[in-house]
């Protein structure tokens, strides 16, 4: 069981998934999270300001940036998922985390095409795409919670305790 835990801490490829103790997936996910949160802010703001066209267009761009960022994060995420031994609670959590994220990304792809009709028009974001964005972001929050559980609860891709202890040695004692 301990060896299975240590297996999940090691990258399957240090070049692609990040070296030991420095996984790339957590930093890559900041791109889609930031872009999609900003996109929803733009959506809401587009229904408040006087000239909403620029916010409407900006929101579509943010969705696209988020989708490309999510694909990059997913590729590295798959590698970390493969590092977790199958049949474990950590692996099942990883599968749910992956499925939710893929669903959210697909929803944003659909959302991107849904918005093409209004793109470039001087109007605010329609209620339908806005609600889809809000629901997608909520699902992303749940998925992010599971991602946090994988890292902080199960310690997937986190350095082992012997390594962590090095950061707390007191040179005076």
């Amino acid at each position: 069981m301990t060896s299975q835990l240590h297996q999940a801490k090691r990258p399957v490829s240090a070049v692609l998934a990040g070296p030991y103790g420095h996984p790339f997936h957590p930093i890559l996910v900041t791109v889609p999270i930031g872009a999609w949160v900003s996109s929803l802010v733009f959506d809401i703001a587009s229904r408040v300001v006087d000239n909403p066209g620029f916010l409407n267009q900006g929101s579509v761009w943010l969705i696209a940036i988020g989708v490309v960022g999510a694909l990059a994060a997913a590729l590295v995420g798959f590698l970390d998922l493969f590092a977790i031994p199958g049949g474990t609670a950590a692996f099942r959590t990883g599968l749910v985390h992956m499925s939710l994220n893929l669903t959210v990304t697909a929803a944003y792809v659909a959302n991107f095409f849904w918005r093409q009709g209004d793109y470039g028009e001087p109007v605010g974001v329609a209620l339908g795409p806005l609600v889809l964005s809000a629901v997608s972001l909520a699902a992303l929050g749940v998925s992010g919670f599971l991602g946090g559980k994988l890292a902080y609860h199960y310690g997937v891709r986190v350095a082992d305790e012997a390594t962590q202890t090095e950061g707390f040695r007191n040179p005076t004692t």
């Binding site: 490829s13 692609l16 490309v68 694909l71 590729l75 493969f82």
Partner: protein, 140 residues
């Protein structure tokens, strides 16, 4: 044609993920190495194919011919690495009935021995289809 290439590419990717997942879970990436695939080979193939797929998706929306060419050019080394793996996998595949018998030495099995043959064949066929479709769509 653009979308047909995307679909072929996605199907190829699913097969590739099955093979990559099998290879890692059977210990292909773990030391001491028993696999005939150096990790740089399999992960290089994965990274190039994935980067190409992302470029192709951006091309579908942006419709810039430079993006289509970039995706096609990324596919060429991807295909070459794929053929290297195929060449290294075939001897493992052909020896699997031999080593399964009694009285053989207990050398550890390479991870790629566990590859389902239909997935390998399907991955290869869809990969060739993708390459052809991407080339036709790019030349269009």
């Amino acid at each position: 044609m653009d979308v047909a290439a995307l679909i072929a590419w996605l199907v190829t990717a699913v097969g590739g993920f099955v093979l990559l997942g099998t290879w890692i879970s059977k210990g292909g990436a773990r030391a001491p190495r028993t696999s005939n695939f150096p990790p740089a080979l399999i992960f290089g193939h994965f990274a190039l194919a994935a980067a190409g797929l992302v470029v192709w998706i951006i091309y579908l929306v942006a419709e810039t011919s430079g993006l289509a060419w970039t995706a096609f050019i990324l596919l060429i080394p991807t295909a070459l690495l794929g053929f290297v793996m195929l060449a290294r996998w075939i001897p493992t595949y052909r020896s699997r009935t031999v080593t399964a018998g009694p009285g053989t030495t207990a050398s550890p099995e390479p991870a790629e021995k566990h590859f389902p043959v239909p997935v390998v064949v399907g991955h290869g066929l869809f990969a060739v289809t993708t390459l052809v479709l991407v080339l036709i769509a790019t030349l269009d």
